[in-house]
């Protein structure tokens, strides 16, 4: 039994509503942080964006695995779209993180922070995915090479994610510990809604991008068929 995918219009409307709700929760309901002050509000956009970037890279790797396991051609575009969106959210993670670091600690970047450097490595690894992909002629060979590369990158995700716990640096304090989130209930609720809204927004972007890429591929085939 297959479950029908929800309509894109419905998903986009829910994402828009959630983004609006999260803005209200962040700026009206959630209290100001006693330590960092107003600049702590960046937390509500930076962390969900970073988690979404990991999810997009993970999705790209999962689709790559499906391609290698089943030889299903459709997974190539799905994997590519996941990596593409992961890169967009990766740029956002780096930029919002740098702004937050400057606001709170007075530096844009710290090479001594394992978390920052590992995220940059992950991001650059997936940037190189595009160079590799577009240096190979389209076809099954390119699909397989891209899939293997996307799958290798996924190993960096848990390393990057856990680096914050393994390294005691000053840039990244650990907010989520074994004792639960180190914030008030309102702050945590605002964070969860923001996370849900950005994840859903990314999923809507994924579906739209994928539809565009599929139309593009179909049009190319149609053109070739009509011109022969």
């Amino acid at each position: 039994m297959s479950i029908a995918k929800p309509s894109l219009t419905v998903l986009a409307s829910v994402a828009a509503a959630l983004v609006t709700l999260s803005a209200v929760l962040i700026f009206v309901v959630a209290p100001e942080d006693a330590d960092q002050g107003f600049s702590q509000k960046i937390f509500y956009v930076h962390v969900p964006i970073a988690l979404t970037a990991y999810a997009c890279f993970g999705l790209g790797a999962w689709k790559a695995y499906r391609l290698l396991a089943t030889r299903g051609e459709r997974y190539d575009l799905e994997s590519y779209t996941g990596v593409h969106l992961g890169t967009i959210f990766g740029v956002l993670t780096l930029v919002t993180g740098a702004i937050w670091a400057k606001a709170s600690w007075g530096v844009w970047w710290s090479w001594s922070s394992n978390q920052l450097v590992l995220f940059l490595v992950l991001f650059l690894f997936y940037c190189a995915y595009f160079m590799l992909r577009f240096s190979v002629e389209p076809g099954p060979r390119r699909e397989r090479i891209s899939a293997v590369y996307a799958l290798f990158g996924v190993a960096l995700i848990p390393v990057s994610f856990l680096a914050i716990r393994l390294a005691n640096d000053f840039i990244h304090p650990t907010v989520f510990t074994r004792d639960g989130p180190q914030m008030t209930g309102e702050m945590f609720f605002a964070f969860c809604v923001s996370w849900a809204s950005i994840t859903l927004l990314a999923y809507v972007m994924y579906r739209v991008e994928l539809a565009g890429k599929r139309i593009d591929a179909n049009l190319r085939e149609l053109r070739e068929a009509l011109q022969t």
């Binding site: 960046i42 967009i88 919002t96 606001a103 049009l219």
Partner: protein, 56 residues
């Protein structure tokens, strides 16, 4: 506006700008697809129908 508020505005502004740029790129792609679909429809119309002789 305090410096903290400026940094928060910058972080949220970057997010909004990137999403808007993505929408603009998508709009450009959509108009290209519309143009290409029109061209293909023209090509399809110009082709003789299946079973129809080329000389009429």
């Amino acid at each position: 506006m305090s410096s903290g508020e400026k940094y928060v505005a910058a972080a949220y502004g970057v997010f909004v700008v990137v999403v808007l740029v993505w929408v603009a790129i998508l709009a450009a792609k959509l108009s290209r697809l519309e143009r290409e679909t029109g061209e293909l429809a023209g090509l399809a119309r110009a082709r003789p129908a299946v079973g129809e002789h080329a000389d009429g």
